[in-house]
Symmetry: C2
Subunit: 185 residues, 2 copies
DNA sequence: CAATTATATCTCGACGTCAAGATACTTGTG
DNA sequence: CACAAGTATCTTGACGTCGAGATATAATTG
């Protein structure tokens, strides 16, 4: 790599063959530096990796869940209810905020889960506009099984990192997500 | 927090009020530890944050791009071509692997971009099955503008971290993405 | 060189999501 | 208490994606 005196090149040359492997984002960043040497594309080093990794995780999860006959979106809803604790019920509105989807989507999801017998809709006794969505016993079991499978898969992916690296990574990511999660982003 | 002797509790108590803010995943993990104290949910600390952050980034990007009259998927395709360098052309197949979508989706995307005059389809002179997708001058300009906007936004998000933290984060993420990007995941 | 297999792209129908608006109920105000 | 504003959920239509299969061309093999 060419050294350019006086130019802000804050990233450090890494001997990739020793420390780790090159990834798609390294290639992407190199391409931008070639095509747009006037731009500082350092942000992509972090945020493009986040997006791409998320994409890969989606695919991997889809696979893991299919072994339990669940779609990712089904898992999201069922586990939100499961986490709520007995009696495993939340309003559609509470489910919205947890799953980051719109209300139309959630109505549709609840419909389909109810048809499969994994949740049931109950009238909210304290607000007649409202509804409560409750996990059925089968829904609860399916959620628990799928969670165990997911964790096994995720542990395998994270085996790339040491325990302390995982802690560091979680901490750094928290710093980035906290503004979104706390300020109504 | 309760201390449980003899139990593997590898995460470290952090004084959140001093070091940073709690995020949605902290709440999620706390809920699981309450509902399923038998499970080790540590993997979620990293990978759920990756997924949720990616989701937030999608939304933020959508906003940034809309100022330039582009959708995120349009940006993905246009910038893939832009990065390729002059004459800014790639086959649909090359675009597939860069954007992680299926061939049916890419056909559709190219159709729509061509209708907007941002790309054009040319026959591949060396393979009559093939097609080349080429950026138009306007397509190139739009890609460059949108990229500048995106980088500005991402820099703002990353201002949460110091320079060295950004470097650390990029490195840790690379270790996780490299297996997906190199082994045909 | 014919037959087979592989590759590149496109077509098409099903599906999930979103955004905007509709409906029904509740809360706050005077 | 009446009325306006707010809230919770559902409905609807447009849209983008996927996945399986179709078509056309290339590469391989005997």
């Amino acid at each position: 790599m060419v050294k350019i005196l006086g130019m802000k090149r804050l990233h450090i040359d890494r001997p990739l063959t020793l420390i780790g492997m090159e990834d798609e984002v390294d290639r992407l960043v190199a391409a931008w530096r070639r095509e747009r040497p006037d731009l500082d594309v350092e942000p992509l080093e972090v945020l493009s990796r986040v997006s791409r990794l998320a994409r890969h995780l989606d695919r991997a999860r889809r696979l893991a869940f299919s072994e339990h006959g669940l779609e990712p979106w089904e898992f999201d809803v069922l586990t939100s209810l499961r986490r709520a604790g007995a009696p495993y019920q939340l309003s559609p509105g509470q489910l919205l905020t947890q799953t980051l989807v719109t209300s139309g989507t959630m109505t549709n999801r609840i419909d389909r889960l109810a048809k499969k017998g994994l949740v049931e809709r109950l009238p909210d006794p304290s607000d007649r506009r409202g509804v409560l969505v409750r996990l059925t016993p089968e829904g609860r079991d399916r959620a628990d099984e799928a969670l165990a499978g997911l964790l096994a898969q995720e542990r395998a992916i994270l085996a790339q990192l040491s325990q302390s690296q995982r802690g560091d990574l979680a901490g750094l990511l928290r710093q980035l997500t906290a503004p979104f999660d706390n300020i109504p982003g």
